[in-house]
Structure formats: structure tokens, C-alpha cells
């Protein structure tokens, strides 16, 4: 039911604003966050470097066009071509809070601090990635066009 509601909200294109502290407010339009979280474009080269780092957690689950990376996951779609499948705004929402599109997803919400359970003290109150890091990764993903 919750899935349907947020899904319907996405279809109706209702804007939504993050109220929590620790993250800057952003607006969801349709199934996307059209505007940059920082107001500027990210850096694709930095985005790639960050995405393949273990600490960003992406390639724990995903594989992609990273031939130099020996250890990649297969819990999630291959990231090759994601820039062809999705707009920057759609990619941004998938990173910011994928659970708004699929309440049952296992993909973590990278820019969210509320509604979480038993977060460890060293991580509490902080999003997994900063707004700058998300913009860098979005800029990189947008270059992946098969």
C-alpha cells in the first residue's frame, strides 16, 4: 500500500521536500530529482573513482564497466548503459532514495538520515554519501551510454 501511495505520488509529480537535518532539501518531480543537490555539476572522473571504492559500497552489489576491479557484486543490475536508460534527474533520485521508487528494494538510500533503525554511532545522523559525492557519481553514470 505504501508502495502504491509513493508510486502514485511519483506519477502525479507531487514535489516533496526532505525535512530532516543532515541533508539539504531537494525536490522530487515525477520519478526524478531534476536539480543538482549542490547547484553545480559533478565531476565524472571523481565520480568513477568514488564509485569503485569499497567505502561507497556500490560495487558490493553492482558490476559495471570497471575491468580493473576484480571484486564486483551480482546482487543488482550491471551499471553499463545506465546513462542511456535514465536521465540525470532519475539517476539522482535512485541514489538519493531508491526506496521511494521500490519500497522493497535492497539498494540503500544514500542521501537520507531519517526512518532508519539502529544506525551505528559512527554513522548516525549522516547520509552515506555527501551531496557533492552524489553529484560526482551522477555525472559519471550519465556518461555510461553503452
Amino acid at each position: 500500500m505504501a508502495i502504491i501511495t509513493s508510486f502514485a505520488a511519483a506519477l502525479l509529480g507531487l514535489p516533496w521536500t526532505a525535512a530532516a537535518q543532515g541533508v539539504r532539501p531537494y525536490s522530487v518531480v515525477g520519478d526524478a530529482v531534476p536539480e543538482s543537490l549542490t547547484g553545480t555539476r559533478g565531476d565524472a572522473a571523481r565520480g568513477r573513482a568514488l564509485l569503485v571504492e569499497r567505502a561507497s559500497t556500490c560495487i558490493l552489489c553492482h558490476s559495471g564497466p570497471f575491468p580493473e576491479q576484480k571484486f564486483q557484486g551480482d546482487l543488482a543490475p550491471n551499471l553499463s548503459g545506465s546513462g542511456g536508460r535514465w536521465s540525470e534527474g532519475q539517476l539522482r533520485l535512485r541514489l538519493v532514495d531508491a526506496s521511494r521508487l521500490n519500497a522493497a528494494t535492497i539498494m540503500p538510500s544514500y542521501y537520507r538520515v531519517d526512518g532508519l533503525n539502529r544506525v551505528g554511532t559512527s554513522w548516525r545522523g549522516k547520509p552515506i554519501l555527501s551531496a557533492e559525492q552524489i553529484e560526482d557519481i551522477v555525472a559519471y553514470l550519465a556518461t555510461l551510454r553503452d
Binding site: A104, I106, V119, W123
Partner: protein
């Protein structure tokens, strides 16, 4: 484009709805996810590093300790007979506490109550050695933990803990170990989390380690607050995992990557 996106979302929704327990016939020990080399290391006592702890445990079994100046063997005699199958029933219900205790806690209850000695610290060499020695006496026997009806509410709590999403990554045990056990997380096999071999030697740890250590590592892995050593929550998780593995064979001391 928008419509295509919606269809993709709906397809994933349908795909994500499976989340079911693993059928009996498909249950697999962590052993069967390993390379032949690591399997051989577990199978050969002379190659299995865990046997060093078992040998230490055998010596401790016979050593007198505490104000009572008694050894485990003074009450239990030969462990090969008296401890056969015991570990396959743990965690077990402890009447005086009204809740389940795991094997390490049972050993420490004997230390304090019967030997009048101080309890061993969690993950200390001595506690790992004694629990490895006791668990070894159940090798090859089927897991039977959790069948005592008094344990039912604790098994249920463990099941809830297994399902709860937690931590900054917002994942539950179930998301990996029930729903994705045939997949790889950054190259390493996600197993079904059957605790058949504990305490076990992990190549990554370069040491023997308890089931509680393993559980705390998975909890920290999703960036959640690990429950304290010996906390009711960890024992309930241990109990749920053991009852989920009922009928599977004990392998302690196992080897894992």
C-alpha cells in the same frame, strides 16, 4: 520514457516480492560454497588450524580451576562420551535464568557455579578452546537446537531480529541470506548463514572465532550498532539460526574463508 521507467519499476516490484524461507531440500552449509582447497583444510584434522584450539580445550577440560579446585572432567568425566551431541542442542533453555544460554555462556555458568572461578572473557583463547573441544564432540551429528517448547518465544524473537532492516545501509539478514544466498557480494559468496561449524577458523581472521563474533561482523557490515557480547539479542539470533538449520550436520571446528 516516463512510461518505460514505470514498467521497469513494476517489474522490479514483482521480482522483489519473493522473500521466502529456504526449502529443506535446498539448504546448504557454508562448506559447500568454498573452494576445494578450503574444504580439504576443514576435512583434514592435521591441516585444520581449529584443531589447535581443540587440543588446548582438551587440556583445559582436565585442569582443575577455581576455589572448588575442580576440573570439568571431575563432574563430566570423559567428554567424548558425556559431551557427545551436546553442542547440537545449544542455545538451550536455562531454568534459573528463564531464558536461553549459548554454549559459551553454559561453560561460564559451570566456571562460576561449580568451579567457583571467574568467567572467561568472550573470544578469549580459553573460552574458544573449551567451546571448540565440546563442539567437536558433536561433529557429524544433526543440529537439534530449538525443539524445546520453552524456547519458542525466543526463536520467534530471533526470527524477527533476522528480518528487521537495520543500520545506515538499511538491510536485514534476510535480504542477503534468504533472498540472495546464490549471489556474490563484491566477489564473496553470500551463504545461507547456517551456523553448522562454530566456533570456526576463519582465514580472514587468522583465528578461531565464535558465532557471536560472526553475527557482530554482519551487523557492523550494514553499519548498525552491534549488540553487546552475550546480549539476549545475540543469543536469540544464534538460537533462530540453529533452529533454522535443524537436521544439518555439525562441522565444528569448521574452516571458512
Amino acid at each position: 520514457m516516463k512510461l518505460l521507467g514505470c514498467i521497469a519499476v513494476l517489474t522490479t516490484l514483482a521480482g522483489a516480492a519473493v522473500a521466502a524461507e529456504i526449502p529443506q531440500a535446498e539448504r546448504r552449509s557454508g562448506y559447500s560454497f568454498m573452494t576445494a582447497d578450503t574444504e580439504a583444510m576443514q576435512d583434514e584434522d592435521t591441516a585444520n588450524p581449529g584443531m589447535l584450539w581443540v587440543l588446548d580445550g582438551e587440556a583445559l577440560w582436565k585442569r582443575r580451576a577455581g576455589a572448588a579446585d575442580k576440573a570439568c572432567a571431575d563432574c563430566h568425566n570423559d567428554a567424548r562420551a558425556s559431551m557427545k551431541g551436546v553442542a547440537a542442542h545449544y542455545p538451550a533453555f536455562e531454568k534459573t535464568l528463564g531464558r536461553p544460554v549459548d554454549l559459551e555462556q553454559r561453560i561460564n555458568l559451570c566456571r562460576t557455579n561449580h568451579q567457583q572461578a571467574s568467567p572467561f572473557a568472550y573470544e578469549s583463547r580459553d573460552l574458544l578452546a573449551l567451546s571448540a573441544y565440546v563442539a567437536r564432540q558433536s561433529r557429524g551429528m544433526p543440529i537439534e537446537a530449538g525443539s524445546d517448547p520453552k524456547l519458542a518465544p525466543f526463536v520467534e524473537k530471533g526470527r524477527e531480529l533476522f528480518m528487521q532492516r537495520q543500520g545506515q545501509l538499511n538491510l536485514g539478514c534476510i535480504n542477503c541470506h534468504d533472498d540472495n544466498w546464490d549471489k556474490k557480494l563484491a566477489g564473496s559468496a553470500i551463504t545461507q548463514a547456517h551456523p553448522t561449524g562454530y566456533p570456526l577458523y576463519r582465514l580472514e581472521w587468522q583465528s578461531l572465532g565464535s558465532l557471536q563474533r560472526r553475527l557482530r561482523a554482519c551487523i557492523t557490515g550494514v553499519r548498525a550498532q552491534a549488540y553487546d557480547w552475550g546480549s539476549p539479542e545475540l543469543v536469540e539470533l544464534e538460537l533462530y539460526l540453529m533452529s533454522r538449520a535443524q537436521g544439518m550436520k555439525m562441522e565444528a571446528p569448521a574452516v571458512r574463508p
